[in-house]
């Protein structure tokens, strides 16, 4: 039986292997700070660095143009935490939303979520997201920042089977394993991140 510490380490190692950025944090306040900082540091539209200057077809171009301001999407947080985030975001000059993702289909800067479980042997996050807003926030963001309480890290998928079944039986359900950023190797087998979903996945391991 591996110790808890071993599990955390394994999780970090495996998540790192799929280019997730893992950071340990002591409190939820740290998480908020991390999100605000990250949002401030990132390019206005991360796609700039990798092709935004390239011309697209008119329709695709028009969709891109709808994105004007830096946006943090955080549906699914508890009320208190969301309020804190929204206040800090406002101060920093970012828009913060917890719904209305369909008005932001061109993308948001950051999706901020809480994972239900972590799976150590593959560095995977388990997110139950029957709410469409939450699902879209994790997919339409350029950076996905996800808090994972350390106590929720399990050894492997078999260890979360029961929890999955509980959720699946409370239909309708939409559950996800997320392992690293969205990726493809469809052109010449060269790895490229951020093909449809996030370009980066940041995991904040919360001491609890």
């Amino acid at each position: 039986m591996p110790s808890k510490e071993d599990l955390y380490q394994l999780f970090e190692e495996k998540a790192g292997l799929v280019s997730a950025k893992v950071t340990s944090i002591a409190s939820e306040d740290d998480a908020l700070k991390y999100v605000i900082n990250l949002c401030g540091e990132k390019e206005a539209c991360q796609l700039l660095a990798s092709g935004c200057e390239a011309d697209l077809s008119d329709k695709a171009e028009a969709l891109c143009d709808t994105k004007q301001k830096k946006v943090i999407a955080a549906p699914g947080l508890n009320e208190d935490l969301y309020k804190k985030l929204a206040t800090q975001a406002k101060k920093a000059g970012f828009e913060c939303i917890d719904k209305g993702m369909r008005d932001h289909l061109a993308g948001v800067d950051i999706g901020f979520t809480y994972a239900e479980y972590g799976i150590a042997d593959t560095g995977t996050l388990m997110l139950d997201c029957p709410s469409e807003e939450l699902r879209l926030a994790t997919m339409l963001c350029e950076f996905h920042v996800c808090v994972l309480p350390k106590s929720k890290i399990k050894a492997n998928t078999y260890a979360v089977e029961k929890m999955m079944l509980t959720r699946m039986k409370k239909t309708p359900d939409y559950l996800a394993f997320i392992t690293g950023a969205s990726r493809t190797a469809d052109i010449e087998r060269v790895l490229a991140l951020g093909v449809h979903g996030p370009l980066e996945l940041h995991i904040l391991l919360l001491e609890d």
Partner: protein
């Protein structure tokens, strides 16, 4: 896609593909990287045990398919999903088109589904005036190029960044860069618009879970999450082979699927959908979901005692990843819609005999696919069986028919071989090769020299020279196989020398004949069975401790296929089981049973590398014994790159596809020469024929020998 009408046309297509340097380099790089990637991904995991568990669970699911479908349907419907059953591809396409019409959908986004490729769904939807956009990057690329996938997991692996750049320039109406990262972002932004406009999303499913009525989808790009979230209608198309009783079975497959497919521990996304989810684009806030469950011949397949194992396929594509022929010719020539070894089989069942008849001949029987299959499917055997079925239906080609006839009559066969010795006189060189190939060989066969028939076959030599061994430690029977009996008897003689020195009493049952693998390879099942029965009668298994053969292919065939070949004859079956238990290859016998010691050999100081015959390393799972013997016999062993990859002989394969055989041999010999070894050792006379013939044509100094010959020479 298969368009060739006959083998000649198919070979012409192969020939063209061989000239595609980009494809060759890409697939070479992939084959090598994949091997390491897969090994790393399975580190510390009992792969064999896991594969066996998957095989068992999928077999059980196949047996219960009807009940599983019922349970799946009930649970899915209870959760607000509409479930449809389609008996064939046309019906599935009709159902989906109707769903689109009924719910007034005009634009569809699709995530990757091999099943939709199988039914050619896009064609029917487009004919109905609906716009369909593939959102998986590779699928989108080939959709716009009007091509089929060339790999089940990496559908556009045959294309270069330049081709993709040109294509994207056309699509966007602006010149695009060829930087891959930029191309990917262009696709991201173009496709995002398609998601926004779409009213229907179509996905496949990797798992259909009966206990929850839900599905699981495995993707890397995350497109399936958008396809199943943004549009107001979701249709998932899946074969009945995706049905599983419970989540546990799906999680188990998930441990192998990504590791086997791409060497990933897990894909970026696994999406589990159960019931009609929230959809804010729908009037009632609920997504309209339809599952279309496709039969298309699958239920017949799972009733077949031999072919039911096809149901275990999880579509990981690993059988293509390791196939040496796929690596040469790519997916468009190694499948119709489904690719690789499983593709050859599924083509026959899903798309018919005409599409499959040439393909199934293009298996070199190296067993690399069987070795990695996530469901432990005996792919090479099924491919041969289909070949045999097609020949039984369509008639047998003359050469294969004649060989079958000849082999059934041992005396006639052996007389022909003896007579060949006289026939070759005018063209035989002193070095043991034929000066120029007989007329029946076309110029494609020039890549290797062929050996002459030996002056004295082993069986005649044995009569005169059989050693008397007193107080033997072991009693063994020798099975020579035709090549060592009539072409390379010196290899058998070398083994006899080593055995006698180690207290092994030997018999050579003279009624033994060809093992029958060549006719089996040519789809002559009847002849193969007859020859097996003859050999089984020639040996009295209980009289020996072991039956030793120096030919890896004979050994694997005798051991694994004989019991299957006589399955319907109970009396012979028992004998075949006993016979099979006694079969051992030369290296395992000498190293693991006789346990020879290095002190009994004089070090020669030479450097030797090794070629692992397919039927030794995979057929018999023997890896260490021959390499240890090389060292024990006093040579320095230097490892060769891709030592366990096929040399391209494949028995009758090299006669049928000489251009492919030549390419495989070239790779092998390049690797061998790069080691700097002066000797190349192996455990199979067929491989020796191929390797020696090729090295002779290159004027190489490297000597090819059977491990037994080196041991006999350096024995003190």
């Amino acid at each position: 896609m298969q368009k060739a009408h006959n083998l000649k046309e198919y070979r012409e297509e192969l020939h063209e593909t061989l000239e595609n340097d980009f494809l060759r380099t890409t697939l070479d790089n992939f084959a090598i990287a994949y091997r390491t990637g897969r090994a790393n991904a399975f580190k510390d995991i009992d792969v064999r045990g896991l594969i066996q568990e998957i095989a068992d669970s999928k077999d059980a699911a196949a047996q219960n398919a009807d009940a599983l479908f019922k349970e799946f349907k009930e649970n899915a419907e209870a959760a607000g999903v509409h479930v449809h059953f389609a008996k064939d591809g046309d019906e599935a396409n009709r159902i989906i088109t109707k769903i689109a019409k009924d719910s007034d959908c005009k634009k569809i986004v699709k995530s990757k589904s091999m099943t939709a490729e199988e039914t050619l769904l896009n064609h029917d939807l487009e004919d109905a005036g609906i716009e369909v956009t593939e959102t998986d990057l590779g699928e989108w690329i080939i959709q716009m190029r009007h091509e089929g996938p060339s790999h089940m997991v990496m559908p556009a692996i045959h294309l270069s960044r330049y081709q993709v750049g040109d294509l994207f320039s056309e699509v966007t109406g602006t010149k695009q860069d060829t930087d891959i990262d930029k191309l990917v972002k262009v696709a991201r932004r173009e496709l995002r618009q398609k998601y926004v406009e779409a009213d229907m999303g179509i996905s496949g499913a990797n798992f259909a879970i009966a206990e929850t009525g839900g599905i699981g989808i495995v993707t890397n790009e995350g497109n399936a999450r958008l396809v199943t979230t943004l549009p107001r209608v979701h249709v998932a198309l899946m074969g009945i082979d995706k049905l599983l009783p419970n989540l546990r079975d799906a999680l188990r497959i998930l441990k192998v699927l990504p590791r086997n497919a791409t060497g990933q521990q897990l894909t970026s996304y696994v999406t589990w959908i159960t019931g009609n989810n929230e959809c804010l684009a729908a009037e009632d806030g609920k997504k309209e979901i339809h599952y279309v469950v496709l039969d298309n011949g699958r239920s017949e397949l799972i009733k077949d005692p031999l072919f039911s194992q096809v149901n275990r396929c999880v579509r990981c594509g690993a059988c293509a990843n390791v196939c040496p022929v796929y690596r040469l010719v790519g997916g468009h020539k190694m499948g119709h819609i489904y690719i690789g070894a499983i593709g050859l089989i599924l083509t026959y069942f899903f798309h018919g005999k005409d599409k499959a008849k040439n393909l199934v001949q293009n298996c070199i029987n190296c067993e690399a696919c069987k070795d990695v299959c996530a469901g432990g499917i005996d792919l090479p055997r099924l491919i041969k069986e289909i070949h045999a079925r097609i020949q039984d239906e369509d008639g047998h080609p003359l050469p294969s028919f004649l060989l079958g006839k000849v082999l059934k009559n041992r005396k006639l066969f052996h007389t022909l071989l003896r007579t060949a010795k006289w026939g070759q006189k005018p063209v035989a060189e002193k070095d043991g090769f034929i000066r120029h190939l007989p007329m029946i060989f076309s110029k494609e066969h020039k890549f290797r020299a062929l050996p002459t028939i030996a002056e004295t076959p082993f069986r005649d030599w044995w009569e005169e020279n059989r050693p008397e061994v007193e107080n033997p430690k072991y009693r063994v029977a020798l099975f020579s196989g035709c090549v060592q009996d009539f072409v390379y008897p010196e290899q058998m003689q070398a083994a006899v020398d080593v055995f006698a020195a180690n207290g092994v009493a030997m018999e050579f049952p003279e009624k033994q004949s060809c093992c029958g693998l060549p006719v089996q390879m040519m789809g002559e099942t009847k002849a193969s069975r007859d020859v097996a029965a003859q050999n089984l009668r020639a040996f009295e298994p209980d009289a020996y401790d072991y039956i030793v053969t120096l030919c890896a292919s004979c050994a694997a065939h005798l051991k694994h296929n004989y019991p299957k070949l006589v399955m319907d004859k109970p009396s012979l079956k028992l004998r075949a089981d006993a016979f099979s238990d006694k079969i051992i290859d030369y290296s395992s016998f000498v190293n693991d049973v006789l346990k020879v010691d290095a002190k009994d050999f004089t070090p020669s100081g030479g450097k030797a590398t090794y070629h692992a015959p397919c039927h030794l390393c995979r057929g018999l799972d023997v890896h260490d014994a021959p390499r240890q013997l090389i060292e024990k016999s006093g040579m320095e062993y230097v490892e060769c790159a891709e030592e366990e990859v096929c040399c391209g002989f494949g028995g009758t394969f090299s006669m049928k596809f000489p251009e492919l055989s030549a390419e495989l041999l070239k790779k092998k010999l390049d690797n061998v020469e790069a080691t700097g070894a002066d000797t190349l050792l192996t455990d199979c006379p067929g491989c020796i024929m191929q390797l020696r013939g090729g090295l002779k044509r290159r004027n190489s100094k490297v000597q090819v020998k059977h491990v037994a010959e080196v041991m006999s020479n350096s024995k003190k």
